[in-house]
Symmetry: T
C-alpha cells in the first residue's frame, strides 16, 4: 500500500505564529505544500490531518488500520504525556515514524523523553520543516 | 440504587485487534455481552460506555451522579496519566472499581502506578476479560 | 486591549458539589457572578469559559490571540499533566495568570508541580474563590 | 485438579483485633468460614493455612506442587519485602492469585510495590473480606 | 483585629540595587510607600519590618501573636531553607500570606520548593511589586 | 499493668562476640542482669526474650496483648527490613520503645531508616548498653 | 566535670503555645524546672539556654569548651538544616546528646534526617518533656 | 582448620524443579555430590546445610564460630533482603564466599544489589553448578 | 563547502558480524558503498572514517575544521559516555548530524541518553542502514 | 579599587582547635597574619572579618558595595545551606572568590555541593591555609 | 578450541606499585606467571595482553573472533565506564569471564555497577590474584 | 624533587578556537608560555604535555612516578568520565592539582562532578588561564 498518513499534533496549527525562533517561520499550510510536493516527486500518496485533541488523534490512528502503509507523526506535546497515543500505535501495528521540528534532545528535561519511541519504527528530530521531508522518505522504506 | 455504570477507556474499542497476545482475543462487543450476561444473572442493571477522550470520560463520570450506585472502569492508558479522571471520581463520590485486563504490576514501570487508585474503592488486575466479571461482582458490594 | 479571558479547567463545573471541604461551597455560577461583579467594578471586560477537554482548552487559548489582553486560567488537573496547554500559552504570547482555589503547594506531591508556571506571568494559589478575584486584579496589570 | 490452597500471611491471625478501621471487624476464623462457604457453593476444595514465618510460607508453597491447581495468597507484610516468596511461587509454577484486604495502592509508599506481582497471575486489592471471595472465584479460572 | 504585619526577608533591603532585571527597579522604601498607600485605601493598619537574620524573623513572627490578624511575608531566600520560619508560623497560628516578587516556579530548581507553603494560607508569586499589593488584599480576607 | 516485655532481635545473642568495637564488650547475659537490676530498683516487672526469627518475634509481640503494659525492643537488623514487625506492633497497640545500641543515624544508609519508628512511641539510639536502661525508664512513662 | 549545658533551639520558647497537640502543654519554664529538679536529684549541675538564632547557638556551643562535660541539645528546626551547628559540635568535641520532643522518625520526610546525628553521641526522640529527662540521664554517662 | 561450611539458602531445595532454564537441571542432591567430590579431591572437609528460614540460617552461621575455617554460601533471595544474615556473618568473622548460580548482575534490578557483599570475602556469580565448585576452591585460600 | 565528513564510531567495523538481528546484515564496506552512491547522486563529496578510539575520533573531528561543511556521525557506544566528543564537536562549530542504526530510544536505559545531542544539529535514529542515507540528505541542508 | 574584603564563615574562629587533622593546626589569628603578609607583598589592602551568623555575613557582603573591588570568602558550613549568602553576593555584583581549606569534593556528599558557586567567580579548595593565599592572588585578577 | 585470551585493563601494569593494600603486592609479571602455570597444569593455552587504551582493548576483543574459545578479562576502570567494551564483547559472541582483584561490591558506589556484566558469562570478584586463577578455571567450562 | 608535570586533557589543543566566550582567547601555546614564565620566576622546572587520548594520559601519569614531585592537570572532559585517570593518579601517589579554566560548579550538571577530586590534593576552578598559574603555585606547596 503506497499511502502514508501524516498527523500533526497539538498546537502545530499555530506554526509560523508560535515561537518562530524555535519552530521556524513556515505556516502549517506551507509545510503541507512541501510534504505534498515531495510526495508527488517520490510517488507516494499522502493524507494530512491536524488535531489538538488526544482522543481524536487516537481515533485517527485507529482509522488508519487497513488504509495506510505507514504513519508519519509529529506528536508535539503529546510525545511526552500520552500513553493513549502509544497504545493506539501499538494496536494498529502500522510502521510509524516519529518526527520533531526541534531537536527535543537538547530542550527541557520533560521534552527529552518520548513515550511513543518504544512503539515507533524510528525518530527524526531537529531539522525544522525538513524533519517532515526526511520523515516522508523514511516512511517509504516501510511501504511494500 | 442497583445500577452500575461500566466505562471502557481509550483503545479498548480495538480489543481483539490490539495486541491479542497481551489483551486476549475477545472483541469489545463480546466482552460487553459477557458483562450483560453476568449482570442479568446477579440481578443488577448495567450501562456500558466507551470513549477515547479524557474529557468525555470526565463528563461520563460527572453524569453518573445521582444515576448510578457504582462505577466499574477500565481506564486503560488514562490510568497512568489522568488527574482529571481522578478528580472527576472524587467529585462524584460514587464507589468506583478500577480494573485492568493485564496485570499492570508486572508491565512497564509507567504502567505500575495508578493515579486513580487513591480514589478508587479497589483494584482488580490481570484476569483478562474475567477482570470485568470480577469487577462487576465487586461493584455489587457497594450497592445498597 | 481591556478584555480578559477567564478559563475554568476540568471538573470545575462540579464546584459546590466536588469535595466542598477542599474547594468551598460556591457553585461555578456563583463564582462567575463574583468575577463579573469585580470586572464591572474595575472596568474590564471578561469572557468566561469552562471545559473538561484538554484539546478544547488548547483551542480556547489559541482563539484568544488578537482578542484578549490577558488570560486568567485555573487549569485544575491539567496544571500537572498538560504540556499541550503550556505550548498553547507560549504560542499566543498573551500574559497568563495561573490561579488555584486550594494551595497546591501543600497538597499531594503531584499537585505541587505546575507544568504551566514557566510560561505563566504569575501564580496565585490557596485563597478559595478569592483566588479568582486576586487573579483578575493581577491580570489588569498586564493590560495596556 | 479442583483444589485451591489459601494462604494467610503474617499478622492475619490478628484480624478483628488488628486496626479494625483498616482491616475490618471479622476474625480470621469468620473469614475462613466465608471462604469455605463460597468454595462449597462453587464446587471447589480449599485448604487454608496461616503463618507468620517467611520460611514456613515458602515451604507451604513448595508443598503445593502436585497437590493444588491454584494458590490464593494474602502475603500481607511479606508482599513488600520477600523475594523468597516470589522465588517459591516461581519455582512451583502454580497459578497464584495475590489479594489484599485494603487497597494497597492508596497506602504508604512502601505498601504500593508488590514483589510478588510479577510472578502472580493477577491481583485483587481493597475489597475487605470480599477480596478473598473474589480471589477464590478468580482462582477457579485457572483450574482445569 | 484589622492589623497586618508585613515582613521582608533577607536581601530585600537591596531592592533596586539587586539584579533589577529580575526584581525590578523600585527600592524597598518605594515599595513600602505603595503598601502603606493601599493599606490606607482599603482601611487596614500595617506594620512593616525587614530583616536579614533568620532568628530575628522567627522572633518577629512570634511577637505577632495577639497583635496582628494576618501576616504578609516575602521570605526571600529563607523560603527554601528555613524550617525555623515554618515552625514559627505554625506556632503563632496567624493566617500568613507568602508572596514572591518573581515567579519562583520558573526559576532554579531550589527556588521552586517552598518550605513555608504547607503552613501558609496561600501563595502569590511573580507580579513584581504588585505581589505585595495583591498579598495585602489577600490578607484582608483573613481579618474579621 | 506494671509489666514490661523486653525483646532482643537477631544476632544480639552474639553480643560481646559480635564486633565489640561497635557493640561493646558486654554479653547478652550481662545486659539482661543490668536490665533486671534497674527493673527491681524502679519497681517494674520485666520478661526478656531473644530471637533470631522474624516470625517468632512477630508472635512474641502478638502474645504480649493483654499481658504487658509496654514493650522495649531492640529490633536490630529487622529494624530496617521487617514490615511484619511493624504490623505486629500496630496490631497489639501496646506502647513500644525502640532502642539501638549504636547510633544508627551515623551508620550505613540502610541502617538510618527504621520501618518501626512510625508505630513506635519513641526511639533511643547510641548509648550502648545504657540504651536499654534509658529505654526501660522511658517504658515506665507509658504504664498506668 | 559534672556540668551539663542544656540548649533549647528555635521556637522552643513557644512551647505550650505552639501546637500543643504535637508538643504538649508544658511551657519552657515548666520544662526547665523539671530538668533542674532531676539535675538536683542525680547530683549534676545544669546551665540552660534558649536561642532562635543559628549563629548564637553555634557560639553557645563554642563557649562550652572547657566549661561543660556534656551538652544536651534539642536543636528543633536546625536539626535538619544546620551544618554550622554540626561543625560547632565537632569542633568542641564535647559529648552531645540530641533530643526531640516528638518522634521525628514518624513526621514529615524533611524532619526524619538529622544533620547533627553523625556528630552526636546519641539521640532520644518522641517522649515529650521526658525526652529531656532521659537525655539528662544519658548525658551523665559521659561525665567522668 | 580445614573445615568448610556450605549453606544453601531459600528455595534451593527446589533446584532441578525451579525454573531449570535459569538454574539448570541438577537437583540439590546432585550438586551436593559434586561439592563433596571436589572436597575429597582437594582434601578439605565439608558440611552442607539448606534452609528456607532466615532466622535458621542466622543460627547456622552463628554456630560455625570455632568450628569452620570458611563459609561458602548461596544466600539466594536473602542476598538482597537480609541484613540479619549480613550481621551474622560480621559477628562470627569467618571468611565467607558468596556464590550465585545465575549472573545476578544481569537480572532484575533488585537482584543486582547484594547486602552481604560488603561483609563477604568475595563473590562468584553466573557459572551454574560450577559456581559452587569455584567457590569451594576460593574458600580454601582462606584456610590456614 | 560541499564536503561532508562521515564518521563511524566504535565496533561499527564489526557490522554484519555484530548482532545482525539488531544491526542488520550489511557490512561496513557495503554501507559505505551506499553512502558514496547517494553522495554521487545528490552531488556532494564525502570522506568516510571509522575508529574505535575516543581520542582518535576527537582528532578526526578537530581535523574537520576548515575542511568540511558538515559532519555525519554514528558515535555508537561513545554517544552515551563521551564528553570529549561533545566538546570536540562544540569546538569546531561544524553542523553535525547524529545518527543511529537502531532506535536508541527503545533500548536499554543507558542508550537512551545522548551526550552529543545538545551540540548536534539533529538526530536520526532507528532506520537501519537508511539512517545513514537520511542523515546524508539532512547534512546537505547545512551546506551552503 | 585595590581593596579586598576577606570573610571567614562560621566556626572558623575555632581553627587550630577544630578537628586539626582536617583543618590544620593554625589558629585564625595566624592565618590572618599570613593573609596580611601576602597582601603587603603584592600591594593590596585587605579587611578581614569573621562571623558565625548567616544574617551578619549577608550584611557584611551588602556593606562591601562601593567599598571593595573583590571579596574572598570561606563560607564554611553556609556554603551548602545558605541561599541568602548567594543572593547577597549576586545583589552586590562584586567578584567573589570562594575558598575552602579542605577539598570539599572528597568529603561528605552534602559538602560537595556549593550553593554559592554559581554566583562566584571561581573556587579554590583543598590547600589548607594556602587556599587563602591562592585566593588572595586570584582576587587581584579582578581588581582594576 | 582450547585457547583462552587473558586481557588486563588499564593501570594493571602498575600492580605491586598501585595501592598494594587494595590490590596486593604481586606485579603483573608475577601474576602472569601464575596464570601460565595454572594453564599448563590444566592443559589450556593462554595469550595475555594488557592495555590502558579503551579503543585498543575493543580491538583486542574483536581480534579474538575465530581465534579463542573464551576470554578472561579484568576490565578495571573500564568496567564501569565503557559501553564500547560491552559492545565489543557482544559483537564477537565469545564466552567472557569478568574478574576483579578486589570485591567491587564493597567499594565506592560507582565501582559496584558493571556495564559489562550483562554480556559476560559470569563474574568473579574479591580474591586478589586468585581471582585470575578461579577465572581461568571458569573459562575452561566454556571450551568445547 | 622540584619538577612539576603539567597535563592538558582533551580538546585543550583547540583553545583560542574552541568557544572563546567560555574558554578565553589564548591559544594553548600562549598559555604554555605563561606557565613556563611563572615556573622560571618561582624556580621550578616544568614539563608540559597535551593529549586527547584517555589511555595516553593514563600512561603519562604512570610515567611520572619517580620523575616528578607534583602533577598539575586540567583533565577537561575526562574529569567527569574517566575512572582510569583516577586510578592512575591513585597508583602513582604523586600530589596532583586539578584545575579548570571555567567554574565547572556553575555549568551543566554533568560537569559539576569530578571523578578525580577524591584522589586530587585540591581543585582550582574558574579563573581562566590564571587557573594554571594559581595551580602551579599550589603545586609548589607539595614539593619538598
Amino acid at each position: 500500500m503506497k499511502k502514508i498518513l501524516v498527523i500533526h499534533g497539538p498546537n502545530l496549527n499555530m506554526l509560523g505564529v508560535r515561537e518562530p525562533e524555535l519552530y521556524g517561520g513556515f505556516t502549517l499550510g506551507e509545510i503541507n505544500e512541501k510534504i505534498k510536493g515531495l510526495a508527488r516527486e517520490i510517488g507516494v500518496e499522502v493524507t494530512i490531518k491536524q488535531s489538538n485533541h488526544e482522543g481524536e488523534i487516537v481515533e485517527i490512528i485507529q482509522g488508519a488500520l487497513g488504509n495506510y502503509g505507514a504513519i508519519l507523526i509529529n506528536p508535539a506535546a503529546y510525545t511526552h504525556t500520552s500513553i493513549a497515543l502509544r497504545d493506539a500505535i501499538a494496536s494498529v501495528g502500522i510502521p510509524t515514524i516519529e518526527i520533531h521540528i526541534t531537536n527535543i534532545h537538547k530542550r527541557e528535561d520533560f521534552r527529552q523523553k518520548s513515550l511513543l519511541a518504544p512503539v515507533a519504527a524510528g525518530q527524526i528530530s531537529g531539522f525544522g520543516v525538513n524533519s517532515y521531508l526526511l520523515g516522508l522518505r523514511a516512511a517509504t522504506y516501510f511501504l511494500e
